[in-house]
């Protein structure tokens, strides 16, 4: 396919983020990408300019993507080059250096400019701000302010909004006497209510900022040098430096001149298209459904939506506006604000906690049981939870206090920022914090790219949360959300529920059919095994098995070892065997000179070091079915002695364990399932750390546990329910298994699912049947049980040619004549 040219005007937060999102969606396959930026740099994090001013960040630390990043990703960047004209009839843009660039798709991300109020004596004759007067917007502004601040003592910041407060803190850090002038009665009056604003005011005064509220600046004093500021009320204030931070205005001039519809911003529709064809816009320059935005979160959402639209013709993604929430540090004080700051009608419920001495203020505005606004000042412990409830519009807990204060006993998470660089994060692949952080700085800014590049998190996966936390830390909370992490497998762009639906609707019964229909015919080697597992789960015995989609273990029904030999674990139901069976196993071990005979953790015997071509003979001689110790399926059910011999036993654990294992042997699942049954609460079979476990308790009852783990992660299982009979244990075991098979991601262990959904929710679904799916789950697992075939039967009739051959020989040597 001939590549189209995508041109992006603007290389700030919005433009550069769009590029990242387009790349994450393989946009390079489709586009030649060209970007124009006014500033002569790569892309930097404008939000952190105030930290550069404050001296807490070095300018080089706030670059998100240096110039080299554009080169590495094949993006042609014209830095320091201004587009002055767009001609949408000929699809050309004109740059200040004379470049004329045709486009197929054009994106306008011109951002905004500082709004400068009318004041006397503000400009030079050339129409520039006078020496000593600054608007705080760009890296160059920031540099000039730092230089100037070294030579003066006293500065005035005009504007008590977020950026004004940040500028005040920055200058304070540089040792200046700082005065802040604000027209309204309250600081940050757009985001905060009166009470919060008052607490913030105290914090600022305590820091040493001089406040002048309800004052309007009228004129700059001084001729050669800046000498002060005059107010409308006639009063004056001496100073040698003035910073103006009174809001922003969308940059719409370029679009307006091109005949694109504008109002306060460039008008965009829900697909972020403008009023003329092939042109899109995003970020602070736009106006969507009557709203303009000045925060980053909406920009990220717009960038995702637009990238989806640009890279996928079938995309129906629309941008529906953002719920505005932001988390920031205002002059060193933690602050999170979202939605509405005050109640609107009488039925609105307001929950407030105020502790002025500590500078803490928390307010929730609740409407119909859902959060419509919140202010959290001076304490950010609960911010993530509150923000999640706000973003998702979820129902709030009855006890609203749970949202204001951490529950006692909740452990404090280890602060990843404090760890040394050489701390090992990924213990499987030996990846340090320093290596991960430097990969992020090198441009690996989505979780998937980061893991692919460093291999962190690609072993057992238990460090994933820490890797994600490091990504958030190293990007300043601005990681790129790679859509593929939500896909069931990387090569088919669908989540598991979407994928299952598509497979069923279109009756896709083989892995190659899925690639053909759902991935535009493109095979993906990393997706085959996951699809194979899912198709088997969906279609059972009507699945069209393609052996090439299976991992080697599932082609030869044994576990591959480091020397390319295999291990053989025959099934020993419930860990109960006999002298006869043991003798047969011993005979096989001798006959084939098995290098190691090992008792496994699952109460079975492992014959290790068998070559591939010997596998069929070994199975035939054993005469025992496969123990499935090599695959993502039900593995084993560990038991204790139980009532038959143990003097403490209160339930027949061995009999139950054998029943479970006979019924569910070989049931394939997203990851392995290890089970256990204990005959009394002493729990010798360790059933409470199994994927599914049962523990006999006094009174003839059984507690059923789900979601336990004792591997890379350790988790105590949750009690699903307590039942009276073996049959009920079998029923709920199967029901949960089927739910796990249908809902877990590929390679997600049962505890992941249980933690993700919560035991209460699972209890509702699987015990109370609130979704009305229990009968269907029971039916589906029965079908899977009925479809079971012992794979070791393939010893007699191999399924593929040379299935168990170690090495084939050529048939002839030929000489070309």
């Amino acid at each position: 396919m001939q590549k189209q040219r995508l041109v992006v005007i603007g290389n700030g937060m919005a433009g550069a983020r769009l590029l990242e999102e387009v790349l994450a969606r393989r946009g390079k396959d489709r586009y030649e990408i060209v970007a124009f930026g006014d500033e002569p740099y790569g892309n930097y994090n404008r939000i952190l300019l105030s930290s550069v001013l404050a001296g807490s960040h070095d300018p080089k630390d706030i670059f998100i993507n240096p110039l080299s990043w554009y080169e590495e990703n094949g993006i042609k960047l014209y830095a320091g080059n201004h587009i002055h004209t767009i001609d949408h009839t000929t699809q050309l843009v004109y740059a200040s250096d004379g470049t004329v660039m045709p486009y197929d798709k054009l994106v306008i991300a011109t951002g905004s400019s500082p709004y400068i109020p009318n004041m006397k004596n503000l400009y030079t004759e050339a129409g520039k701000l006078r020496h000593g007067v600054f608007a705080f917007r760009t890296m160059d502004d920031c540099d000039a302010m730092i230089n100037h601040s070294d030579r003066v003592r006293k500065a005035v910041v005009i504007g008590g909004g977020l950026l004004g407060l940040e500028a005040a803190r920055g200058l304070l850090n540089r040792g200046l006497e700082v005065h802040l002038v604000h027209v309204a009665k309250h600081l940050m009056n757009v985001q905060l209510d009166g009470a919060a604003s008052k607490i913030l005011r105290s914090s600022l005064v305590e820091m040493g900022v001089h406040l002048h509220l309800q004052k309007r600046a009228a004129a700059v004093l001084g001729d050669e040098q800046i000498e002060g500021l005059a107010f409308e009320d006639g009063s004056t204030l001496d100073c040698e430096m003035i910073v103006i931070s009174t809001g922003i205005r969308p940059n719409i001039g370029l679009a307006q001149r091109a005949g694109i519809e504008v109002d306060r911003g460039i008008i965009v529709k829900d697909d972020l298209s403008c009023s003329v064809p092939a042109i899109y816009a995003l970020g602070e320059c736009t106006q969507h459904r009557g709203k303009t935005y000045g925060l980053v979160a909406p920009i990220w959402e717009q960038a995702q939506c637009l990238a989806e639209r640009l890279t996928n013709d079938q995309a129906q993604t629309i941008y529906e506006g953002s719920r505005e929430s932001t988390k920031l540090k205002v002059a060193g004080v933690e602050l999170a604000v979202m939605g509405e700051k005050d109640e609107v009608d009488d039925d609105d419920e307001v929950v407030v906690y105020s502790e002025p001495v500590r500078g803490v203020y928390k307010k929730l505005v609740v409407r119909e049981g859902r959060l419509v606004g919140a202010i959290l000042l001076g304490d950010d412990a609960m911010t993530p939870r509150v923000r999640q409830l706000f973003d998702r519009g979820e129902a709030l807990p009855e006890n609203r206090a749970e949202l204001l204060f951490p529950l006692s006993g909740e452990s404090k998470t280890l602060d990843i920022a404090d760890m040394p660089d050489d701390a090992q994060i990924c213990n499987c692949n030996g990846v340090s914090k320093g290596k991960i952080v430097s990969a992020v700085k090198g441009g690996k800014r989505s979780l998937k790219m980061l893991c692919d590049a460093t291999r962190a998190g690609t072993g057992c996966g238990s460090c994933m949360l820490q890797v994600k936390a490091l990504l958030d830390f190293a990007t300043g909370g601005q990681a790129v959300d790679d859509p593929s992490i939500h896909y069931y497998v990387p090569g088919v762009p669908l989540t598991k529920p979407e994928l299952i639906k598509a497979i069923k609707e279109q009756n896709l019964r083989s892995v190659s059919a899925v690639f053909r229909v759902l991935a535009a015919g493109k095979e993906d080697v990393g997706s085959k095994a996951g699809l194979s597992s899912l198709l088997k789960t969906i279609w059972g015995k009507n699945y069209e098995d393609e052996r090439d989609a299976r991992f080697i273990n599932d082609r030869v029904h044994a576990n591959i070892q480091k020397d390319a030999t295999f291990s053989v674990v025959p099934r020993i139901y419930g860990g109960v065997t006999s002298a006869q069976e043991l003798r047969r196993i011993a005979d096989v071990a001798e006959k084939y000179s098995v290098p190691m005979v090992k008792i496994t953790g699952g109460q079975r015997i492992d014959l290790v070091g068998i070559t591939k071509e010997k596998l069929p003979e070994v199975w035939k001689d054993l005469g025992i079915p496969s123990g499935h110790a090599y695959t993502k399926s039900f593995r084993t059910c560990k038991t204790c002695l139980g009532t038959e011999f143990c003097r403490y036993g209160v339930g027949d654990s061995t009999a139950l364990g054998i029943k479970i294992e006979k019924r569910y042997q070989g049931i394939e699942s997203p990851h392995k399932m290890k089970l256990g049954v204990s005959g009394c609460p002493r729990n010798c079979a360790e059933a409470t750390i199994k994927d599914i476990g049962a523990v006999a308790i006094e009174g003839g009852k059984w507690e059923i546990y789900i979601g336990g783990a004792a591997g890379a992660s350790v988790r105590k299982a949750d009690v699903l329910c307590t039942v009276d009979t073996h049959e009920e244990v079998l029923l709920y075991t199967g029901r949960f298994m089927q739910y796990y098979r249908e809902h877990a991601k590929y390679l997600e262990r049962s505890y992941g699912l249980v933690e993700r959904l919560g035991i209460e929710r699972l209890r509702q679904i699987l015990v109370e049947d609130t979704e009305g799916i229990c009968e269907q789950l029971d039916h589906a697992i029965q079908a899977a049980v009925d479809a079971y075939v012992d794979p070791w039967q393939e010893a007699v009739i191999p399924v593929t040619s040379a299935q168990f051959e170690n090495a084939l020989q050529p048939v002839a040597k030929v000489v070309v004549s």
Partner: protein, 112 residues
Amino acid sequence: MSIMMTPGRVLYNLGPITRLPLGEGRSFLIGDTSVAIYRMRNNEVFATQASCTHRSGPLADGIVGDGKVVCPLHAFKFNLADGEPVGNTCAALKTYPVSISPTGDILLDLAE
């Protein structure tokens, strides 16, 4: 890589392409040389050294697709056409010219 059919060249006939199941690889031992042959789902064939350059994993046992093989031991990926590692820093695999004869046999060229 296809084979240059220059006169005098020594080739190995590995038998009909159906000796390999669709979409899978198999190891061949030719004298002292182990070679992994892969048959893609579109019937394209590739040949590389049989063991991976990381820990000598048996590459013919790997999953193949889209011109790549994933080693069964540690999931490192390699390009079959040129042997180059994909997303890892292992050394490249040695590759061999291989093609299908008009009669459907796999022909392998081991010469340097």
